[in-house]
Symmetry: C2
Subunit: 436 residues, 2 copies
């Protein structure tokens, strides 16, 4: 039997996927549209960037995840606009009519008007971003190994991470561990003494979402690994060989061939397309302002959830762009739609904050759970537990566990190989293999 109520969900990230899964037993037809054919477990993406995990460990095909849920169709397509008045979503591959619409297309890297920095300092939002970072990091090591001049060696082994939110801190920690483990073992002419990792943050402390005490503890852990943490430093220029920043009233410059950008996030452009069709208001970062039931002003059947939504908490602050927010909103909206079909109404969405955590390296993390603060080994163990639990639902439990155990004991970054795009002949100022 085909049900008549048609729910279109755009985006197979945490928000969209949870919404779809929560509608498992609802008498509805669901179309889940994504331009990628997989769900990405983004909290572990940095481990693909560092060569610790394979893409398949953190990416699961949407069709595999939703195989048994017969009321879902998956459509691989790019949404190009809306005609909300006629209840239509426009894709690269034709229009779709919806009864309810859930938009969950997330966010992208943001360079605050410095778009020329993008090719110089890749961000970390997509699998391809992770490959790009992995390739740059591995190439930098290879170049350093071949370089006879000690000053240039240091330049190749100088890594700068801009932005000290969770992603930036996790990347900096992982880079430091690679420098400490890999350089000693795998290269002949370089050692950790040549290497430097600098974390640049504009605010006066790292991990600003945590209490000051944990920020301080995280900073100590990173410094112990060999990371130089610069707070209150604003990047002014990025070139292929350096980063210039202002700290206090001084302007300083670090020579570096590998700069990574985790300092800014902007909403997906689908938010703008939705605003064009509905007149809904966007905030400064392009997020869609939503009502307390995650619908948008004037359109009770159109919902925006996750990183794309600007949802005001009781204090008037927007909820942070975290996986748990997206998941809970996905589940909430699913239940709201299902309830409405039975004539039930539902209170507004409330975010339940179970805690926040960031990993800082082998055996070290910071966590805040239900108001309790943890750091060090126990926080690391919590981090591991929560992320394994999270990824179980996407079918890769066994693999990722083996891989982590392997890595923990061997310290091998076994997935650290450099791939090339053999068909791309355009950027050949370099040898495409060694990067020279």
């Amino acid at each position: 039997m085909e049900h008549s109520h048609h729910i279109v969900i755009i985006g197979g990230g945490f928000g969209g996927l949870y919404a779809a899964q929560s509608l498992k037993n609802a008498p509805v037809r669901i179309t889940l549209i994504d331009r990628r054919n997989f769900h990405l477990f983004q909290p572990l993406l940095y481990q693909v960037a560092t060569g610790d995990l394979s893409p398949a460990n953190i990416a699961s095909p949407l069709r595999v995840i939703l195989r048994r849920q017969k009321n879902v169709k998956i459509l691989l397509a790019e949404v190009t606009g809306f005609d909300i008045g006629n209840r239509r979503v426009i894709t690269c591959d034709g229009d779709l009519k919806f009864d309810s619409l859930i938009v969950a297309t997330g966010s992208a890297n943001h360079y605050f008007g410095h778009d020329t920095w993008q090719p110089l300092a890749p961000g970390l939002k997509t699998l391809e971003d992770a490959f790009e970072i992995r390739n740059r990091m591995m190439r930098a090591y290879e170049r350093a190994e071949k370089e006879p001049d000690p000053e240039l060696k240091k330049e190749w082994l100088s890594f700068v991470v801009v932005g000290a939110g969770s992603t930036g801190v996790e990347l900096a920690g992982a880079l430091a561990e690679i420098a400490n483990d890999t350089l000693v073992n795998d290269f002949r002419t370089i050692d950790p003494g040549y290497s430097s990792i600098t974390l640049i943050e504009g605010m006066d402390r790292i991990l600003p979402q945590f209490p000051e005490e944990l920020s301080a503890s995280a900073k100590k852990s990173l410094e112990h690994l060999g990371v130089t943490v610069l707070n209150g430093a604003m990047v002014e220029e990025i070139t292929p060989e350096s980063v210039t920043y202002k700290i206090g009233d001084r302007t300083e410059r670090i020579s570096s061939r590998t700069v990574l950008w985790t300092a800014g996030i902007k909403a997906s452009p689908i938010g703008k397309a939705l605003a064009d069709s509905t007149g809904v208001e966007l905030d400064r970062s392009g997020r869609v302002i939503v009502l307390q039931d995650c619908s948008i002003q004037g359109w009770r059947d159109v919902f925006v959830i996750g990183d794309l939504a600007h949802f005001s908490d009781p204090d008037g602050n927007p909820l942070p762009g975290l996986a748990p927010v997206a998941m809970q909103q996905g589940r909430y909206v699913a239940k709201l739609i299902e309830g409405r079909m039975k004539g039930e109404s539902k209170l507004g969405f409330r975010y339940r904050d179970f805690g926040t955590m960031s990993i800082l390296g082998r055996n070290s993390a910071v966590a805040m759970i239900d108001g309790l603060r943890f750091s060090g080994w126990f926080a690391w163990f919590l981090w591991l537990f929560v992320h394994l639990r999270g990824i179980i639902q996407f079918g890769n439990k066994l693999l990722i566990l083996t891989q982590w155990a392997w890595k923990y004991f061997t310290r091998d970054h076994y997935a650290g190989f450099i791939t090339t795009n053999e068909t791309n002949e355009s950027d050949d100022d370099f040898c495409k293999y060694c990067g020279k």
Copy 2:
């Protein structure tokens, strides 16, 4: 202590890597040059193409494999030529002087003068080839799922493999299994009835390296999986929508959007560069004719091994391009060089043929070992055993075993996701995500 005898090895495939490892305890300095930073376990590459294995399962960084062998330096560089008279190898990154040289750069896809077929029908030699095939296959499924016209649906689900050597047969078998398993479970509007897999071979039987009896048995197994096997068929044209071939005196045409090419192999262009510098003779496929000790005419310290070498067996036939040949030659040349340093001489190289095997799908293979012939389940088990044993040496044993077990029981092609090259803006006649 730095030893004075410097051995340069070009290529980190089976031949080069085995040569390096066999020189572990020799009083020499070794430089292993490769343009890639990893060794690829090529016999399983087709499983990356079908989304069954992750790249990290079959690719290991050379630095990880050779970590503990202190007499080896690895140089990531592309060899551009030779100045053998002055004992020099020329790379993109400067010259290297050698005392002994081992060239093991293998082979590449060959289209017999039809180079325009290359973008239409990718081969399977590199990791990037495997990604390309995986992307095309997954995109074809996605396109078929969206296609309302049953004829076009069939066209999208028609896969043609050209060439029925081991790689072609293994690919065809794996594609058939995917069609049988995945299509039923993961898609809503397509089923195996829409799908067709055609294997085109110019010779009168498949797997010509095996006895006729096993070729016949392999053909039966493939047909049982649903593969159409065409023998004595010569491809005349490939277009984005079709393959035209001549069989007997008829010309026929198959509509297909996904054509894979495993019909030809040519030697790496390094062979030509070596001939330019030494005057050594090449055979018709560009392989370097080597003497019975794997050195080349006139240059007793220059060796060519593996797929790049044309080594005549006692009957005057060249040895086949197989991993065991490369490995044994690598080990032989290593021992030869080590022996010479002690003033010892050594008989010519003799290939010990331990057997050949090809997998035909779940629980089915053909194998010939020491003259004994196997097919079916037992041959499959042998295949699994030999390949697991082979890959153990490269450190991925545990992972690959888990992955295979997982796949065996779930039939999930969990690594089947489509990646894009986000930075490549040139080929956008298509939507880069869904391929339309």
